[in-house]
């Protein structure tokens, strides 16, 4: 069972929910941080025995001695990652999408590919939880190859629970992260912005035909626009996390609430049971 945790808006509590659910799982669990631009789950788990794997993409290299100046590569590139300057094709590595088209199209075999490292995947253990983190190097444009690597190298084992911590937003990195999920958990906060962005991920999970439910975070005693939206749209509300300064303090200090406090241990264990029931059965 793979559960993706997403929210649209940033800072609503995706990592809080994903980390704590993985921490209370009764069986060995896998936590995957797909927010490769700003990964934070590892700051809570502080995993041990971390193994690092570099992630690279393929970037074209021009061999000037073989280039005839036909410019077919420049014309072919839809991303404008190649330009013809001073009788020579020039590669703009940051905007290359690694499609391999220029190499394919070059009639003189003047282009080959080299590996360019854009980040890494770290894998370690924290108690019963295996923690996988993707980290994009600052200055790199796309973390998609890292997210792909994070998700392909971990088949859904029977009896194992996987929690996928998604990036904010609703664009390509989020789509990539929820692709293989069996269930999507939408974390919403009770603000005007929170509701507007909840609406977007709600549309996204519908578009991808994923079963889903919502968790309302930072709940106060006042009117909750996120709750109203869920009720209006018939989105199942799995639970409500009350606004709690103690939870904020634990989380702000990088501690896992479910491991620090009995109250939150019970709270997240109950939430996990609800999620599994809603998502259709045993882990």
């Amino acid at each position: 069972m793979r559960v993706a945790v997403l929210s649209g808006k940033g800072g609503t509590g995706k990592t809080l929910v994903a980390v704590n659910l993985a921490a209370v799982a009764p069986t060995p669990a896998l936590y995957i941080d797909c927010d490769v631009e700003e990964p934070n789950g590892h700051l809570f788990f502080k995993p041990e025995n971390v193994r690092k794997t570099e992630i690279g993409i393929k970037i074209p290299v021009v061999h000037g001695d073989k280039c005839t100046g036909c410019r077919q590569c420049v014309d072919f590139c839809q991303f404008n990652a190649l330009a013809y300057i001073k009788d020579h094709p020039l590669v703009f590595e940051e905007i290359c999408h690694s499609c391999g088209g220029c190499v394919l199209i070059c009639p003189g075999s003047a282009l080959t590919e080299k590996e360019k490292v854009i980040g890494e995947v770290q894998m370690g253990r924290s108690g019963r939880v295996t923690v996988k983190t993707g980290i994009l190097n600052p200055g790199e444009a796309s973390g998609i190859p890292i997210i792909k690597q994070l998700l392909t190298a971990c088949p859904a084992e029977a009896g194992h629970l996987t929690f996928i911590d998604c990036p904010p937003g609703s664009a390509c990195p989020v789509m990539e992260s929820i692709k293989e999920a069996d269930y999507c958990l939408l974390v919403a906060e009770p603000t005007l912005f929170g509701v507007h962005n909840l609406k977007m991920v709600y549309e996204l999970v519908k578009l991808f035909n994923k079963p889903f439910g919502a968790i309302l975070n930072k709940c106060l005693d006042k009117a909750n626009p996120a709750e109203e939206f869920c009720i209006d749209q018939g989105i199942p509300i799995l639970d409500r996390i009350p606004f709690d300064q103690e939870l904020g303090r634990l989380n702000g200090d990088g501690l896992i609430a479910a491991r620090e406090s009995e109250h939150y241990q019970e709270f997240f264990a109950a939430l996990l049971a609800t999620v599994l029931k809603e998502a259709g059965g045993a882990p």
Binding site: G10, E38, F76, G100, G101, A141, L204, D253
Partner: protein, 296 residues
């Protein structure tokens, strides 16, 4: 035009809350929302009148003509994005297709074509000499970096003689953020005092540094974790990044936003602190132009 960009690395630290307050305080005539896959600034700053809307075409998408296709499999083998699906017919997964055109190039019978695809919508609000450029990425589309560039281009074209533009950015450090950085004079980073907030702050500062853009930091909800606030201050001091202010946690701020108002529209501690942030940020922006004037 001086461009001030608000970023944060981590999401939910208060970018839009601060950006809308700065727009109000500066009476900015030009502003934009570059968070195209989760835009919110319009909820606070939209003009009363309807915006001018136009479709945004991203990269094209491939399409296979089943009548011509001979099922040779070359397109599927060559596609690096796993966007060709072998079903009864060969099909293109439009979500996965990046529009590179490799499938078109390898097809021996011209069964594959690239077709324009709407990837979002650009909106331009104009009202009393003010220009507000924003966009919404279509659900399920990629190319958010290109759309961000379009939002900025639209702002520049519509507000030619404006002195100051305030731009609300997106979380993260990837392509939409990098696209929003181009041509910016100062990045104001809204930081949050938590373990996650500090880690994300370091990464966004590194990213802005890669493109050699001047940065300043504002610590939001600083009183929720004073130890982490002190750590952020230490980090900024060591890296010679000015801290332009501290905004306290303030329940009235949430109320203001939920009522569609900026936090300087009512009297509240967060609004007061933001006025000081505004003054110091403006000093930094102007100091910069003073320096460049001296250099000339």
């Amino acid at each position: 035009m001086k461009q001030l960009l608000i970023l944060s690395g981590k999401g939910g630290t208060g970018k839009t809350t601060v950006a809308s307050a700065l727009i109000k305080l500066s009476n900015a005539k030009a502003y934009a929302d570059c968070d195209v896959d989760a835009p919110n600034l319009h909820l606070i700053m939209a003009a009363k009148t309807d915006p001018e809307r136009r479709d945004y075409y991203g990269l094209p998408k491939a399409k296979i003509d089943p009548k011509r296709c001979t099922a040779c499999d070359r397109c599927r083998e060559s596609c690096r994005f796993e966007a060709i699906i072998k079903d009864q017919d060969y099909k293109v997964d439009a979500f996965a297709c990046e529009g590179c055109g490799v499938c078109v190039a390898v097809c021996p019978v011209n069964a594959v074509t690239l077709n324009p695809a709407v990837a979002g919508e650009l909106m331009l609000h104009t009202d009393k000499n003010r220009v507000f450029s924003t966009a919404q990425l279509k659900m399920g589309s990629g190319n958010s970096g290109l759309l961000v560039s379009e939002v900025k281009k639209q702002l520049k074209t519509a507000a030619v003689q404006t002195e100051l533009a305030i731009i609300d950015g997106s979380p993260g450090i990837g392509c939409p953020v990098i696209a929003s950085l181009s041509g910016v004079d100062l990045v104001l980073i809204i930081a949050e005092p938590s373990v996650s907030g500090l880690s994300d702050l370091e990464r966004i500062i590194k990213t802005a540094g890669t493109f050699q853009i001047k940065t300043a930091v504002c610590i939001n909800k600083y009183d929720t974790n004073r130890r982490k606030t002190a750590q952020i201050e230490d980090y900024c001091r060591e890296n010679e990044i000015p801290v332009v202010g501290h905004i306290p946690f303030d329940p009235l701020a949430v109320e203001a936003i939920n009522n569609g108002k900026t936090i300087v529209d009512l009297e509240c501690p967060a609004g007061e602190a933001t006025r000081r942030v505004f003054a110091r940020t403006l000093d930094l922006l102007l100091m910069d132009s003073q320096n460049s004037a001296d250099a000339d």
